[in-house]
């Protein structure tokens, strides 16, 4: 009897600190995001008036928000398509082909993932520098003479693609390692059979490897949506801060800007709510569309 009482107390003291802090610093702020989105809330404290869904109505007519929506969707689609194709290809090569220095390649490809986003932004700023950047001076080798430099981060039409390249560079290694893990679980006997029947490695990749790791690819699609939204914010914040003239504004960078620079906390949180709902809905749709019969091996 005494022991049982001690048991309950032990469990309580194990869980209570974690649960309390988790509630204060994660659950409460999350609830607050939804609550604040219904208020017109300006300045640090004080003035707040309940406006219902008014913030959301304004949002629909806010050109800057629509632009950030456009940019975010472009980023999600392009970054996902390129990263997934590259990382699947590299994972396929590194698990299936006999490559000298296989582990060296794996180690190098994963490096961007351990660097801070600020570091990555600084590196890409050096690469993209119009006058003395690595990229322009490299390109100058191919077009002699005084060609007009490309403004990778200054030209409104180009800058979003410069961000895309940085994001793909950052993500390829991470997803590659992930796909390598599930690819190495595919039984070798399947490939041996295919070899005997004379199927090329490319054919094997598409008709054995891809179908068998499909579940894993589906899961990563959700990661892509969520992490592109988050990482695009962190990269944009450190590299261009949404500029020039809003051409790289993404969902969360616009939210942050509204909340801090503009002190429209309520409006900023309404953006947060919409983005949250958007990412959930998109993940749901993608999950439904990519559903296939589960293959087992």
């Amino acid at each position: 009897m005494n022991k049982r009482k001690g048991r309950g107390r032990f469990i309580f003291f194990c869980l209570a600190p974690a649960l309390i802090l988790y509630t204060i610093f994660m659950i409460y702020p999350t609830v607050k995001v939804f609550e604040m989105s219904l208020y017109k809330w300006t300045g640090f404290v004080g003035e707040k008036t309940f406006v219902g869904i008014n913030n959301f109505i304004i949002l629909l007519e806010d050109d800057y928000f629509l632009r950030s929506l456009q940019n975010s969707i472009l980023l999600i689609v392009v970054v996902t398509v390129f990263t997934i194709s590259l990382s699947l290809t590299f994972a396929g090569i590194l698990t299936r082909e006999k490559i000298k220095g296989q582990s060296i390649f794996r180690i190098i490809f994963y490096i961007p993932n351990i660097l801070s986003i600020v570091v990555i932004s600084a590196i890409f700023s050096a690469i993209y520098d119009p006058a003395n950047g690595l990229l322009n001076s490299f390109l100058a080798l191919f077009k002699p003479g005084d060609a007009e430099p490309v403004y990778w981060l200054g030209d409104q039409k180009i800058v979003i693609y410069s961000i895309i390249i940085a994001m793909i560079w950052q993500a390829v290694g991470y997803y590659m390692v992930m796909y390598m893990a599930s690819m190495s679980a595919v039984p070798v006997s399947l490939y041996e059979c295919a070899d005997l029947e004379g199927a090329s490695h490319i054919k094997q990749f598409f008709s054995i490897t891809l179908p068998l790791i499909w579940t894993n690819i589906r899961t990563t699609l959700t990661f892509f949506i969520i992490s592109t939204i988050n990482l695009s914010f962190m990269i944009v914040k450190a590299m261009t801060d949404g500029g020039p003239d809003g051409s790289t504004e993404v969902f969360l960078s616009y939210m942050y800007k509204q909340a801090y620079t503009n002190s429209s906390y309520g409006y900023g949180m309404a953006i947060g709510v919409v983005v949250f709902a958007f990412s959930f809905a998109l993940s749901g749709i993608v999950n439904g569309v990519t559903k296939r019969e589960n293959l087992e091996y």
Binding site: A18, V45, T219
Partner: protein, 294 residues
Amino acid sequence: MRKKMNGGRGLSQLIIYVVLSALAISIVVPVAWVFMASLRQDNEFYGSPWTLPAGLHFQNFADAWGEARMGEYFLSSVLVTGMGIILLLALALPAAYALSRFRFRGHKVTGIFLMAGLFINMNYIVVPIFLMFVDADKALRTLFGGPFFMNNLFILALVYASTALPFTIYLLTGYLSTLPKEFEEAAYVDGAGYFATMIKVIMPMAKPSIVTVILFNFLFFWNEYILSMTLLTEMNGNRTLPVGLMNLMKAGKAAAHFGQMYAGLVMVMLPTLILYIFVQKKLTQGMTVGGLKG
């Protein structure tokens, strides 16, 4: 026939190596270039970026460390990361232990409640956390005459640890529930209490998963900058390294102190690179166990 096949093999092998090397070069060259740039003198930055530095200008590091205050920021980062990891382990280990080894009333609900946190990303809740601290400080100032929550490294570490809880508990619970029950039963028979059993019997066995947790969260805490930028706002006050680097980038470009800027960049990434060299295997394995990204 055989010869023809071999020829095709050779060509596709070649293409594979070219493609692999292209990506590897695109990663190694910029990183190596930063190391090189950190040793240049400021006036060397106006020429071609591809020349080797004229000399080894280590003064850049001294300038970044002192003048640009990266030394102080380095210390702050070490403190925040260290405190964050200690707090995280102190909070998450007992919680994961209770969740994985005991069945109690509300067990399932508690588990689901914590796992819901996996879907909450820090970037969304930065603003309410910031406002919460500003409000609390305002109240404290009228009561005790001093703020506490903003610009406090310990509080920053506490928030880091709290937001890392769901994933860490998820990871540890998964590992702990695979350990056989006999060890605890033997300990109870020997008269050990619950607490002693947890510390002396279970924790040593959980070491591999604890190492994984430390590695991931070291990278997360060390590299994070959005929350740090938001909660450490005092003019000329404390910063963590990534935020310091961001300021240095802005200032460095304006004042043309390029060497200093790249030296600061090296200071931020060198610790993670060194760690990575030693533990890269563990890291890429651990990732597939956890399989989740913030």
